[in-house]
């Protein structure tokens, strides 16, 4: 039986009715219409469905929508502020961190979650953190370069 739940997605409140078995991933894509979040492996390994739930990096394929009632979700669509790309999005363009693009939303959301928790990670910390996001195109180095470019921008404002 469907249940009514409330989600705040990218700062906007939604009330939707979902079957208990509906994944957060599918609620975002099918009920709310935000298709930036991708379904890859469906078992929490590939990272394509990465979102933030109350600021914590989460596989949206491994959590029921109903279990997120009342929570605040950030997806790739929430990264653009006032028409401006997030510095991570711009860096992925500038450094070729995105090729076919399928994994890119998850990559960028994952990197964002890291930089929100730790604006000055070491390269090793970035590598370790991003190990949960698979990419079949770039060979990873360009992704690392993209994230590190933003880390270096942060270093300019290290206080």
């Amino acid at each position: 039986m469907k249940r009514r739940i409330e989600l705040t997605v990218n700062g906007q409140d939604y009330e939707i009715e979902v079957e208990p078995s509906k994944l957060l991933l599918h609620a975002l894509r099918e009920e709310i219409g935000l298709t930036g979040t991708k379904e890859g492996c469906s078992i929490g390994v590939c990272g394509a469905c990465s979102v933030m739930v109350d600021g914590r990096l989460t596989s949206s394929c491994l959590t029921l929508a109903i279990a997120n009632d009342g929570k605040s979700i950030t997806t790739i669509e929430g990264m653009v502020a006032d028409g401006e790309l997030d510095p991570l999005q711009q860096a992925f363009i500038d450094y070729g961190g995105s090729q076919c693009g399928f994994c890119t939303p998850g990559q960028i959301v994952a990197a964002k979650a890291l930089l929100e928790a730790n604006p000055h990670p070491s390269e090793d910390e970035v590598r370790e953190w991003m190990s949960g996001n698979l990419c079949r195109c770039t060979g990873y180095y360009k992704i690392l370069e993209s994230v590190m470019a933003v880390v270096k921008q942060h270093e300019g404002v290290k206080g």
Binding site: M1, P20, S21, L23, G44, S59, T63, L64, S131, G132
Partner: protein, 288 residues
């Protein structure tokens, strides 16, 4: 369309009562990572899911010199990894939890959920077993406390009885377990499950091994303690020969199977190599 009730008790008592009334038809969910995947794959089709997520104060990580470390079953892997108390008093646990899958999963999955899946390929139970941890199981009848060796029964099977909830993990004070090592062998990628995992805790005084606890994952239907390998060292003056012998003996105590991470023979060989390596690392930590 798979349908089930989604129940969110706000106390352990309420969860136990619900669990009792639904019996086999209900599944407990904690962080949800494993249960959600099994539902998606149609491996589970419960009538009800009883979520533990709304129970307050279920995710604590506490330490006292007298009682050691107590962890609420709802604590996430990341909570344990990031706890300064764990880092300070239980470096073996810090090392172990910081290598479970990758950060995204560590933010989701809880320690209670991990142990209750009874998956022999996961890491936390191995190091908890090496540190002599015990789990508290709570039901409407009361509580009982089991060692992890008692708790892990068979492949994906634990000693949980109908109506029981794993509520707390306790690790004794670390006092004299100065020597420790964790080796998680992952030849493919860092965030993979271990091909073989070894955790060892050692008490050594004046070159003599006073006590030792050795546990391994991914090598048998359950996470196992290698008792006979421990006996090779216990009460003896530690030598290179004995350490190597312990590896040989440990390899006779495991029952690995062929899978995509390696053949049974390969894994047994790894046990022979990694157990002595772990013991040497543990000894080096004692010598400082």
């Amino acid at each position: 369309m798979l349908d089930f009730e989604y129940l969110e008790p706000t106390t352990v008592e309420e969860a136990c009562t619900l669990l009792q009334s639904y019996g086999d038809e209900a599944v407990l969910m904690s962080g949800g990572a494993a249960v959600t995947m099994w539902i998606s794959q149609r491996l589970l089709a419960p009538e009800a899911i009883i979520s533990l997520a709304k129970i307050p104060n279920f995710d604590y990580v506490r330490f006292s010199e007298k009682d050691g470390l107590t962890i609420g079953a709802g604590a996430r892997h990341r909570d344990i990894e990031m706890s300064p108390l764990v880092r300070q008093h239980y470096p073996l646990l810090y090392e172990t939890f910081s290598k479970v899958a990758q950060p995204r999963i560590r933010y989701m999955a809880t320690i209670g959920g991990n142990l209750c899946t009874g998956d022999p390929a996961t890491d936390p139970g191995t190091s908890l077993m090496a540190l002599d941890a015990e789990v508290t199981l709570t039901s409407t009848e009361g509580k009982r406390v089991l060692s992890l060796e008692e708790f892990f029964v068979d492949y994906y099977q634990t000693a949980l009885k109908q109506g029981e909830v794993l509520t707390e993990v306790r690790v004794p004070p670390p006092a004299e377990w100065a020597g420790w090592s964790r080796i998680k062998f992952t030849p493919r990628t860092e965030e993979d499950f271990a091909t073989v995992g070894v955790s060892v805790a050692l008490k050594v005084r004046s070159g003599e091994c006073e006590d030792i606890r050795l546990a391994l994952n991914s090598v048998a239907p359950v996470i196992v303690r290698a008792h006979r390998a421990e006996e090779v060292l216990r009460g003896k003056r530690v030598t290179d020969e004995l350490v190597n012998e312990a590896g040989e003996v440990a390899a006779t105590e495991v029952e690995p199977t062929d899978d995509m991470r390696g053949s049974a023979d390969y894994k047994r060989h790894l046990v022979k190599v990694l157990v002595p390596r772990a013991m040497r690392q543990a000894l080096e930590r004692i010598d400082g």
